[in-house]
Structures are given as structure tokens and as C-alpha cells.
């Protein structure tokens, strides 16, 4: 084991114990580890951004061709304008860059959500061929999806028609469907909670085994 491995093991074990001290509540040791994690993450991010800037902007600007330099002019200007956001007096100068970032990001996200999730999932759920493809189990699965979706939507219907005759009908149908929809929602939330709990336990298991392995390494070094 090298010195770097030894230092890394000791620091890892110590920080793990500090983090696990949160089991007995918030305390200064946990806060210390939390602040170290936050500071290290920020420092690493800044260093990475500087490296990326140097590799993707500075070097091409110094060593690239004329076309490449002119191509970098627009992002450089927009990036410099974005720096004005740090000064309230000159912040409006960065609005153009901010608008470009938000606009492009929103356009990409919305287009991806519509064409990459909503449309394919709707087509897949409404395809009779897909319903029949899986046999009886597939048909039941597809029916559950359709019924669960409709009932979950009706669970959020909080209004009733004005007409008294329609009110009773509405409560008899939409009201009952809403109750079923709430069952689907509860099941979905339960599944999400179970998944999150499983992920958290997996992480805890990994931390504890890392701690045990670290202690074993230190004991091995001391013994031999």
C-alpha cells in the first residue's frame, strides 16, 4: 500500500464516520464532513471549468485557424456578457446570454419531452397490437395501465357540474374512479418510496463495507 493509499484510506474512514454520525442527529462532526464535501465539489468543478475553458476556447483561439477563431468569437462575447450578471448594476448586459441559454435549453428539453417521451409512450400504450402481443398477461397489463392512467387523472377532478342530475351521475362515476385513481397513486408512491429506500440502503451498504475494508487495510498495515 502506498502512502497515497494510506492517506486516502484514513481520510475515507474518518469522513465516513463523520457522515454516519448523523444517525444520532445533527452534530458538528457531520457538519464538518458536509462542508468538506461541498467545498471539495465546488473546487473540483471550478478547476474542471478552467481546464475545459483552456482546452476548448483558449487553445483553439491561439493555435486554431482563422475560421476557428472567428467561430469562437460569438461564444466568447456571450460568455463575457454573462460575467456582468455578477454585478447588479451591469446585470442587464448579461440578459442576452441568459436568454440564449434558457431559450436553447428549454427548446431542447421541450422537443425531447414531446417527441422522445410523450409521443412514443402514448403510441405504445394505445396500440392494440401491443396489447395483444403479450397474451393475457400483456392484455391485463395494458388494461391496468389504461385504467390506472384515467383513474389517476380523475382523482384530480375537484369540480362538479352545475346541474343537479349530472352531479349525482358525476359523483357515481368520476368519484368512484377518483378513489381508484388514488389507489394507483398510492401504489406508485409506494413503489417510488421502496425504490428510493432500496437505493439508500445500497449506498449505506457500500459505505459500511468501504469502512470495514479500510479498517482491515489499516490493521493489515499495522500487523505486517
Amino acid at each position: 500500500m502506498t502512502t497515497a493509499d494510506l492517506v486516502g484510506t484514513v481520510v475515507g474512514v474518518a469522513l465516513t464516520l463523520l457522515i454516519l454520525s448523523y444517525m444520532i442527529g445533527d452534530n458538528p462532526l457531520y457538519r464538518l464532513a458536509l462542508y468538506l464535501l461541498t467545498g471539495a465539489a465546488v473546487g473540483y468543478g471550478v478547476a474542471l471549468a478552467v481546464v475545459a475553458l483552456f482546452q476548448q476556447v483558449i487553445l483553439p483561439l491561439l493555435q486554431g485557424g482563422t475560421a476557428e477563431r472567428y467561430g469562437l468569437l460569438v461564444p466568447i462575447v456571450l460568455g463575457l456578457l454573462l460575467l456582468f450578471k455578477g454585478f447588479p448594476r451591469w446585470a442587464p448586459w448579461g440578459n442576452l446570454s441568459t436568454a440564449l441559454l434558457i431559450g436553447v435549453g428549454a427548446a431542447v428539453a421541450v422537443a425531447g419531452a414531446l417527441l422522445g417521451t410523450v409521443l412514443p409512450q402514448s403510441v405504445a400504450s394505445g396500440s392494440l397490437a401491443d396489447w395483444l402481443r403479450g397474451g393475457a398477461a400483456g392484455l391485463i397489463n395494458s388494461l391496468l395501465i389504461a385504467v390506472g392512467t384515467i383513474c389517476a387523472l380523475l382523482a384530480f377532478a375537484f369540480t362538479v357540474p352545475r346541474q343537479r342530475a349530472l352531479q349525482r351521475l358525476w359523483r357515481g362515476t368520476a368519484g368512484a374512479a377518483g378513489v381508484i385513481g388514488r389507489l394507483f397513486l398510492a401504489s406508485a408512491f409506494g413503489a417510488a418510496f421502496a425504490a428510493a429506500l432500496t437505493a439508500s440502503l445500497s449506498i449505506l451498504i457500500g459505505r459500511i463495507y468501504t469502512l470495514i475494508e479500510g479498517v482491515q487495510r489499516l490493521l493489515q498495515m499495522r500487523g505486517g
Partner: protein
Amino acid sequence: MIYCPKCGTANREGSRFCNECGSPLPSGTGLRCPMCGEMNPIGSVYCNKCNARLVPLTTPQPPTPPGEKPAGPAGPPPVRGLSLPTIPSPEKKPPVPEIPTGEGEGEDWLAALRATAEELKAEGIEEEAPPPAAEVEPLEIPDWLAELRAAPPEEAPAPPFEVPPVEEERAVPDWLAELEAAPPEEAPAPPFEVPPAEERAVPDWLAELEAAPSEEAPAPPFEVPPVEEERAVPEWLAELEAAPPSEEGGPPVPPFAQEEIAGETPPKAPVFISEEGLAVEEGTMPEWLAELAPGEVEQAPAAAPPFPLTEPLAAPPAVEGLVPAEIPKWLEGMRPSAKREAPPEEPVETRGVLEGLRGTLPASRAVEMPEGAAPSLPAAPSAASIARAELLQELLSRPPAPARPLAKEQRRDIGWVVQRAVVALLLILSIVAPIAVPIPLFSVPSSPAADRFFNAVQQNVGPDEPVLVAFEYSPAEADEMERVAEPVLRHLLGQGARLIIVSTRPEGPALAERLLARLRPEARQVANLGYQPGQTAGVQGLLAGLDRRSDLRTGLPAAQVAAMEGVHTVADVAMVVVLAAQPDELRAWVEQVTLAYPDLPLVAGISARVEPLAAPYLDPGAGQLRGTVAGLAGAAAYEAHLGAGGRAGFYLNSLGLAQLTVVGLMLVGAAIFLVGGRR
């Protein structure tokens, strides 16, 4: 607009501080114009509506001679009152002395009093504008005035009235100049005509005044304004001298004066001064004025002078033939007293509706009521309002509640800590137990999604095939995600694939290197293209230009790295593997890849928390994901496909025990909740 009282800058309505100097601006208050009632901003000089002056003019103070005690603070408080207005005139006139009065306003009597003041001033009792004595020649004054002047005042009060010096050309007032220019027949005769000096007949009462001891008649302290040598006699006096004598041949004395001198009975209808100022009329007058006999007229100026006298007048001596007038009480109160001091002269307003007036009422501060404000509160408060008010009063009067016992709080905190510690201890024991008892309690579960993932790799990834691997997790999620990623990458490397590593997280490339250090791939098999900012947009940027990036391992451009040979865009890779720990990152990759390259095989190694979201993409109808490896269970299933045991299978026992422990704790908690009465 709100005008700054300090710098005068116009500020927007509602401003609290001046935009120019930062001074606080008045809000809700203002100066109410005494003329029209308009609210004006604090600091306004003239009214916005009627142009009346809101700030009183100040009297210029002449320089005090050395050694002379300045008047004012040491003297008695000045008598202040409502100054009477003067006749507005386009020409600039000398300031008219103030006439103290009691009450009432009106144009007629004000004009009459003003005319009286002018007439009296025409008699030579000009107390204004005394030029410096050293610059002008002494006035050739009548004897009686000279004696009065020569008599030393017994009391030497501070000069009650200092008249600012007047220029030479202002020695004669304008209105006097007008009189001079007017034809004699049109010029109204003054009520008191001063006889020519050479034939002046001193009235008896004046003669007695001259003979009276100075103690009884203190010398007037006011100084007769010296006149220039060439102006020794005013022109109007000269004209009077040059004018033909009256029909009676006597001096132009008023009728009542003549009668007074002759000791005759005064006429029933007294002389009255018309509005025009100098025209003499006989006829209607108020009763209180009618009571004043003509013989009392000469006392009237002393009793109620139309302008403030600088010297307190003594009571007129008893003169034979003169009977003291019965003056109304209100008029008696206006008699100048010896103890009184003439109020300071105030300048004349030169603009606005108050032009020609002086000493007007100053503007006063007032609170501006908002428009539409209710004039008053409802007459009777409701019972609910009274109850709330009483409750508020009770709360306010209640003494502060004593602090909770500290011991009880500490017991609760200790119990809370013990409870958390017990739960933590149980979880740790359930996790560590498989180490002490290496018995496989839980078999590797079947995972169709992991099977599809394995088959997809087997079918699409061959030797030297490029595979794009996205590391989209953070160090906090590495303990789970590394268990997922390790068998997948081992499989890919075993297939002989080239790994092209990208990430939209800053920590992603470093975590990839950490994992690859454990797998020990060949150098030509891996190209780490680093971090791409922009999240969803960054994913699209990565897909479009892989060859425009640089390799973090070698620092070379991507096009010069062996692992990137023949790869320019995502379309050139055999498969895309996404290792995501959060739903948003998986969704972004699935949407962008399937939208741009629908036929490109896409698989995902995901955290257990992302598994519910990834299920729809695994639907065969959608076909967006060819397979997933979700959590430790999926990783254990994948390891089983590889035929070699790994950490995921070992951790699976700990995960099963921990899950059972959590379920047991939840059941125990629910039971305690039910038994404990749902508290």
C-alpha cells in the same frame, strides 16, 4: 411630483428619498395655502394653484452701528398682528408701514386706512428711508418739529424701528411724484394741509405741546428722514406753497382744523376719506366713526395710527378747548403704548394674488388626506370587533409565559437520540451480519431487464466496436452505481469494445477513471472525453460532435486517440450505455438519443430509485431502452450472466436483511402508533 425640500429636485410621486441628494422627502404632509387651501409640497415657496407666497418674506436687517445695541432680543416681544394690505400698484412703491388692527377684512376700509396712511405720510411724518446723516444735509424742518427733535428722550429704548436706508432717488415716494405731476385742481387736497413755513400758524395745541415739559411729552425717537439740500422742501409742499390761497384766504388747513383752531363747534358730518384715497367726502360713515368729532380727529392718528409709530406717543396734554374723545374699547386697545415696540416692517409681496400686500398669514403644515378616504370611522363598532379588541388587550396585558422546564426538554431530546441510535444500530447489524455468517440468505433474483441488457451487448458489441458510456452519477451515489457499472464495463471490455466516456456531470469523468482503474483496461480501449456542460442541451451537443473534444487521459484531440478511430458522432458507435442515478439524466439521454438516432441500441445501468421511471421506456412497444441493470439486484443478475461472482451478489444479502429490518421497524412503529392511541 414631490419636490425635494433640500435641493428642489422633482421626484416621482410616492418617493421617500430624493433621487438627487438622497434627502428624505415629505410624505402625506404639505403646506396648505392660506389663500386657496391647496396642498403644496414641503419646501414650496409659491402655491401651485394661486401663486400665493407660502414662505413669508424676511425683512432685511441694516447693519447695526458699532456700539449700538441691536434691537430685538433684548427688547420686549414685538407686537404682531394682521398687517393691512396696501393698494396694489404696478410701480414699485416704498414699503408702507404696518397698521395694527384688530379684526375684519375688507377692501373698502383697508383702502381707506391705506389712504389715511398716505395722507399722514404726506404731512411729513415720514419715518422711512432715513439716509445717513453724514451724506445729506439736515432738513429744514418746522420749529415745532425741531424742538421735538431737540428734546432729549428721557427713555432711550432701543430703536424700535430701523428703516433701511433709501437711495437718493427714492427720497420722494412715487405716489408723491404722481401727486406732483397731477394738476392742482385734480389733486385732492390732503386733509391735513401744512401751511407754508413763513406763514405757518402753529395750532394752539401744538403750541402747548411745545411749551409742555419734555417729561410729559417724550421726544419721538424716530428720526425725521433728512432730505437732500435741493429737496429741503418737498415738491408737493412747494406746490402747496405756490398754490393760490383758499377763498377764505387762510392757510389750506382742513375745515375741522380751522374750526378747531377757532374753537368752534365741529360739523356734524365729519370728514371722511374715500376709497380713492385723497378725495374728501362728507356723508355716510359708520356710527362709531360718526361719534368722533372733528375736533377729535387730530387725536385719532395718535390713538390709532395708520402705521406703526417708532416712538411711543404720550397721552396728549390737556388742552383747553379739546375734549378727550370717547374711543371704543376695541379701538382703545389698539392705542400704541409706551411699552410697546413697533413690529418689524415686513416686505411687500411682489407676485401672485398677494401682490402689494405684506405680512400675510404664513402657510401652515397640514396632513394631506388621501383621495376617497373615509371622513371618519363607522359610528358603532361591531361586537366582534370589540371582542377582538378585548382579546388583544388581554393578550397584551398578560405576563410572558414562563419558559418550559428544561429537564423535560432534555429528556425528550435524549429519547429521540436513543431512538435514532437504536434504528441505526439495527440497520448496521443487518448489513454486517452476512460478513459474520456467510450464508446466502437471498438468491439472485431474475431480472428480465438485465437479461435484455446482456443480450443487447452480446448482439451489438463486437471486438473493437466503439461504445459510448455516459457516467451520470455523483460521488454520493457511487457506492451503488459502481456495483451496477462494474459488471457492465467488465462485459464490454471482455467483448473487446472501445469505451468512449462522456458525462454531463463535473464529477463523472473522475468517477469513470476510478472505476476503470479497478478494471485495468488497455489504453487503446478507453477515451475519456470529459465533462460537457449544459445538461439536456449538453447531451445534444455531445451527440453531434464527439470528435471535437479532447481526451482527458492523453490531452490529445479526440480525433487523434485510438479509441476514437472512425468515430465522429454518436451514429458511429455500436451502442450507448447510460449509467444514471437520477431520473432526469436518464430521461434526457433517452429522449435525445432515441429522437436523433431511433435505431441506435440504448441500454442503461441505473440506480434502484430510477427503476420505476425506466420501466415505461423498456416497454417493447416503445422500444426506447433495450435493457436496464437496476440497483444491486440487477447488478447481481448481470454478474450471474457473466458467470463470475462479484460484489453485487455479496451485497445482496446485506440489502435483503436491511430491507427486512426496515419493514420490521415500520411495522413496530405502526403497532406502537396504534397501541399508543395515535399520538
